[in-house]
Subunit: 289 residues, 2 copies
DNA sequence: ATCGATATGGAATATTTATTCCTTCTTATT
DNA sequence: AATAAGAAGGAATAAATATTCCATATCGAT
């Protein structure tokens, strides 16, 4: 038995870095019970969730009881789940936050002005930022994820596509291209405010592809909810694990688009969407022959 | 008085992104009391702290009372401090956490075989091709051209935007973004086949931005012709000098998008369009002041 | 200098969140 | 098949955290 509860001596262990935590989990994994394995997998898989969400949310996402998480943390030697969370949180914050800080607010100083050669090399800036985000995209999405998405599309009787505001262009492209690729496609474009009617026809053998970015458009979130309720599988393309689209989605593709002067690009998203369509087109073609 | 408490109507505001939050703070800053300024500064300065610590901790670091933070959040229109925290937290997570992906847990799962070659690295190919086309874009469009385009947009009473088929996504983005930038915009989306009616209202002091690529969509070409006939200036975004959009257009921006397995990308076009919008937004902002 | 109005600190309260504990299942062993 | 030991679920409880409220202080106007 590992890390029995009350004992004051077993508390010496308890990993205090993400790495040691991970390796500890891997070490003990085989000896864990089914539920504990479930929690273990989740912690390894989604450390950001474990770090920044409440136990109730984590529990829901991992599909376990809150108490199971507490038990798991205790097995690892922590006094409670909170302490385990803190270890992960600190590490994630330390690693990734600092990097991001190059361009912190020029604060008040000319809050409005911008002045200088401002508009002069915007295109250059944009290209630069997009290059970075594309490279990141290449690294963050695996071929397996693309394949999985293709399978989902292939299986679907009809593909519903939802995307509003900033997500509208990639969504419209996806709808257009999938249709041309011979897939039955329904683009929820919200013309005349009829989006709710459009999505309500979705069936369990269809697929909803929902695209949304902060601040998540209400319509898309609602579509997601309706699809979920109607038992249809969902593929979400969004920008973070805290997106409202994540919960309940069979597959989630995370995209980190570039940002220039607080305007967000769409390049990475579009690139991903196009890759999806093309690989779907090729896959289905191969299959047909 | 800003963001009075109980009023149900004042709750409409409340920034829902870090950027809008920041600019709101900057805007109201001068009207704040001493303590509130202290909180404001801290929020601008240490968003990570505000996002991830408890009120008690934040309060201590900012050297104020917890209640002061709550009060501050309410001034900004939030129901409480928690909601303000959530906005910041989500954004920081969205921005920086995704970076941590890519090396996600293969851990157990025995890394199922990376099967078939065909669809396997489409994303990689795409990224590669897009990188090239972006670099090309940077070299082929000059800052002067962007400036000229801005001037044309600025002068126009209303901007009409036409783009169908493959050009639809960038056109829809342009329409969306220009509108948000405060420009009167009419997007010719052809809903219900009414595009001809939409464009016929164009005036000589308006501007048509027409986007089209081979094989040039008939609708766009017709829009172009109508605008010409009605004496409105035209800015065309297209892919060659022999495009039907070139003749009669006051300005032409040529884009050479990447092509992967005979599918054409949209990245360069979108990048150009976004650059246009941003530089317009900044230019017009400067002008206002 | 006095009054009124607004802002502040901090204790009291409400709410949310974590943890515990007891009952019900599971599963392995005889 | 019966039994016992461990695991899991979930309600109850404890802890923490956020929010409210009010007495006191500060500031500006007369």
């Amino acid at each position: 038995m590992l890390g029995e509860d009350g004992d004051p001596d077993t508390t010496v262990e308890a990993p205090d870095t993400l790495e040691t935590l991970r390796s500890t989990i891997v070490q003990v994994y085989e000896d864990l019970s089914r539920r504990m394995k479930q929690v273990a997998t989740f912690v390894l898989d989604k450390p950001e969730d474990v770090a920044f969400e409440t136990l109730a949310v984590i529990a829901e996402r991992a599909d376990v009881q809150p108490s199971a998480i507490v038990r798991f943390a205790k097995i690892l030697g922590y006094p409670g789940a909170s302490q385990m969370q803190k270890v992960i949180r600190d590490e994630l914050l330390a690693n990734h936050m600092t990097l991001a800080y190059g361009e912190r607010a020029r604060q008040f100083t000319a809050a409005s002005g911008e002045a200088d050669g401002a508009t002069d090399n915007i295109l250059g800036e944009y290209v630069e930022a997009d290059l970075v985000s594309l490279n990141h995209l290449r690294q963050s999405i695996s071929a397996a994820q693309i394949r999985e998405a293709n399978a989902a599309i292939a299986q679907a009787s009809t593909v519903y596509i939802a995307g509003f505001r900033r997500a509208f262009p990639p969504a419209s492209y996806l709808a257009y291209a999938l249709q041309r690729a011979g897939k039955r496609t329904c683009f929820i474009d919200g013309t005349g405010g009829l989006w709710a009617n459009q999505i309500r026809g979705i069936q369990p053998d269809d697929l909803l592809i929902a695209i949304s970015f902060r601040p998540y458009a209400e319509e898309t979130v609602k579509c997601h909810a309706i699809a979920l309720e109607r038992g249809a599988p969902i593929l979400s393309i969004t920008d973070s694990n805290v997106s409202p689209l994540v919960k309940g989605s069979g597959q989630v593709l995370l995209v980190r688009d570039a940002e220039v002067r607080s305007f967000r690009s769409l390049t990475a998203t579009l690139c991903l969407v196009q890759s999806l369509v093309i690989s779907y087109a090729f896959a289905s073609q191969e299959h047909d022959n």
